[in-house]
Symmetry: C2
Subunit: 269 residues, 2 copies
């Protein structure tokens, strides 16, 4: 059996990563876990997010994936190194790919980052950017209202435009030339974010960039899928499967089957 790429997220946001992996690596089989019962992760304490991430990784490991993609910026910020130290397969997060793409893109050496409260508070993007390019300037802004809008499927509503404009007001006029969408939910809102920020600011989708790096790492490890048979992906979610299915099918433009997963009582916090 073809080994899959396992993708985990706090909810539907990681579908932006899944969609890009499907597009850039059409031969790869994906298993996706959206922890919709416990979304959003952004406002939760780090310890809780770490605990949840370990749980989902344990669940996914029973399917013997060849790689784990933590398609959630909050979980990447606080749990990726711990997961990487624990599992024997490659683990890819969404923060460093976005940081590298921003370094490649910026000419002004000023990069904006928007994300959840957890991601922004962790300063993970600043560390990732400055680890590589110490003189880069970073302007950050937490946008806690974006994830709930996306999880409710409100990608283009009037109310959404207003929330986005208000949230980004501080960043408008800042001299950045690129803005990292530091949350995998945000590409759902990229049309609105792009029109608020204007054409002089390139939007960096951590989803697109992560898919690109998944491709790079699988190639360099000799682990790319070679079967010409089109893969059948698998989706799991811990919350309402109908809501998940509706959003996922609309975003992915294809019919999918969703398997609901119920956390045991001891796991619900």
């Amino acid at each position: 059996m073809q080994q899959a790429i396992a993708i985990l997220d706090s909810g539907v946001g990681g579908l932006t990563v899944a969609k890009e992996i499907m597009r850039q690596l059409p031969q790869e089989k994906i298993i996706y876990f959206g922890d919709t019962a416990r979304t959003p992760y952004g406002p939760r304490p780090a310890e809780e997010v770490i605990h949840f991430t370990h749980q989902i990784v344990d669940y996914l490991l029973q399917y013997h994936p060849k790689m784990i993609v933590i398609a959630c910026n909050t979980a990447t910020a606080v749990a990726m190194e711990k997961i990487r130290a624990r599992v024997p397969i490659p683990v890819v997060g969404v923060i460093h790919p976005g940081a590298r793409a921003a370094i490649k893109t910026t000419r002004k050496q000023i990069v904006g980052v928007i994300g959840t409260e957890g991601t922004i508070k962790s300063r993970a993007y600043e560390f990732a950017l400055r680890q590589i390019s110490p003189t880069i300037q970073v302007v950050t802004k937490a946008c806690p209202l974006f994830v709930p809008l996306v999880e409710r499927g409100m990608f283009r509503a009037d109310q959404t435009s207003q929330v986005v404009a208000d949230s980004l007001a501080d960043l408008q006029g800042a001299p950045m030339d690129c803005l990292i969408l530091g949350c995998t939910h945000y590409p759902f809102l990229s049309d609105v974010i792009g029109s608020v920020m204007g054409p002089q600011v390139s939007l960096i989708s951590s989803a697109d960039e992560t898919a690109r790096e998944v491709s790079t790492i699988l190639y360099h490890k000799g682990m790319l899928a070679t079967s010409p048979v089109m893969p059948v992906h698998q989706f799991f979610c811990s919350g309402d499967p109908l809501m998940f299915k509706k959003i996922a099918q609309s975003w992915l433009n294809e019919q999918i089957r969703v398997t609901p997963v119920v956390w045991q009582v001891s796991h619900i916090i």
Copy 2:
């Protein structure tokens, strides 16, 4: 001592890769070898290019680099897998990064590739693209006159514009939405190539993309430079050091020291 990234090329073309690595990874020390005495590699038989590449790798290994970047499409096409099998450090070529960037960029699933005769004849880009995305369409064109123009420093001359327009005439009007500059010399001509192809065609520089992947691989292997001291790069060339220095300083916008390397008689073919 900080371990360097070793970059090798048939001449000055690989400086486009070196410049991007300097920009995207400003803390990394680079040692660069331009085989200007034996440029261009494009029209040479594969066996000869393989032999030359092994020679340069041997020369560079005495400096104990942490990674080898084959910044020449022709050498990547015919020698990379052989070098990779022989040396114990990561070896990165310029073909797969360009292919991955094109897959990320194209929406029409039609990709153009220009390169030297050797690169185009090897069909290395087609293999790299189709290994990942089997249904992608690839349109290729060898442009043997471009490298000699660049090696003579003629980046913007009238004659250059005419040669570029004539060489790309077959590709104009083809329904591609991105064009891989499948030779590290070509970014020197990107302004001219861009204006010939028009704004609807995104140019993919294998130089930019390779620098990005060097960053990815060093990060994932825990090999990024951490010293805050700015590195001093080293340059070697086998041909006229003055000509090399002139082109390199103009392209890199900084003063450099060039060490001439003379191949032994048995090595000159």
